[in-house]
Every structure is written in structure tokens, then in C-alpha cells.
Symmetry: C2
Subunit: 85 residues, 2 copies
């Protein structure tokens, strides 16, 4: 099976973005929707922020979650290695 | 032990951001540095993008990784449940 590139236009925080990737359309739409929601949450909590600041702080929040997920993954991998070892 | 709020100023993509959280200073600096690097990577690859677009696409990339990490985590959790069950 050949992995085909998908090009899809999504709306994030009132602006259109063209995303190119090999993921499914539904995955890309889900990711875009999550970003849109998080940007609106951050803007609601800090009404003085401009769009760039909102976007950077959104990225910071998601990266923070990313680091926590990576840590959880390492814990589970160690556990599994012990059980399977 | 009381969890204290930490307030730290970081530099991301040439701009200063004050981040407030209960995480360690090193964690916040690490996260900020990751965002700065990713924004520069995306800007290098798409020189026409303005800073807001760079930040939004950075957030999209990290959220994409998050979804994959969550999927990996679920797989490992199911494996562990089987082994421990």
C-alpha cells in the first residue's frame, strides 16, 4: 500500500491553513480542532494577548503535555520490560 | 509539601514570555527551548510564513505528536493490563 500525501485546508482561530501530510483527513481535522479550541481557551483567560502570543502559548501548553506523555510512556516501557524480561 | 507557583521569563522566537506554573524552572526552560527550535525549523522550511502562522503550525505539529504518543500509551496500557491481569 502506497502512503499518499493528503492536502487539506483547515480553519484555526479564524484563519485558513493548508496542511500537507500522510495522515488521514479526520486526524488532521481533529488536530486542527484541538489547536483552535486551545487557542480560544488561552485567549479567554488572557484577553490582552495578541494572536501570535496566543499561538506561542498554545504551543508551550501542548509541548508541556507532550513531555508528560513521553515520561508516562517511558514508565510503562520500563514496566513492560520488567514483566516481559 | 506545598506546590509553589513559579514565574519565569523565557525567550521564544525573539520575544519574551512570562510563564507561570508549578513545574520546575528547568522543565519550563526545556519546553520553551523546544518551541523556539521547532518554530525556527518551520520558518526555515516556509520562509513566507509570518510569526503567527509559524506558531500555529508549530502547535499543529506538536499536537500531532501528542495524538501519536497518546495512541502508543493506550497500546502499552492494554499490553500491561493483559500481562498483569
Amino acid at each position: 500500500m502506497k502512503s499518499e500525501k493528503i492536502k487539506i485546508t483547515v480553519d484555526i482561530y479564524g484563519q485558513q491553513y493548508t496542511i500537507v501530510g500522510s495522515e488521514s483527513t479526520s486526524h488532521i481535522r481533529y488536530v486542527a480542532n484541538q489547536i483552535d479550541e486551545k487557542m480560544r481557551e488561552i485567549q479567554q483567560a488572557n484577553r490582552m494577548l495578541d494572536t501570535t502570543n496566543v499561538a506561542v502559548l498554545t504551543a508551550v501548553n501542548i509541548m508541556h503535555e507532550n513531555v508528560l506523555l513521553q515520561e508516562q510512556l517511558e514508565v510503562l516501557e520500563r514496566k513492560l520490560a520488567l514483566l516481559e524480561g
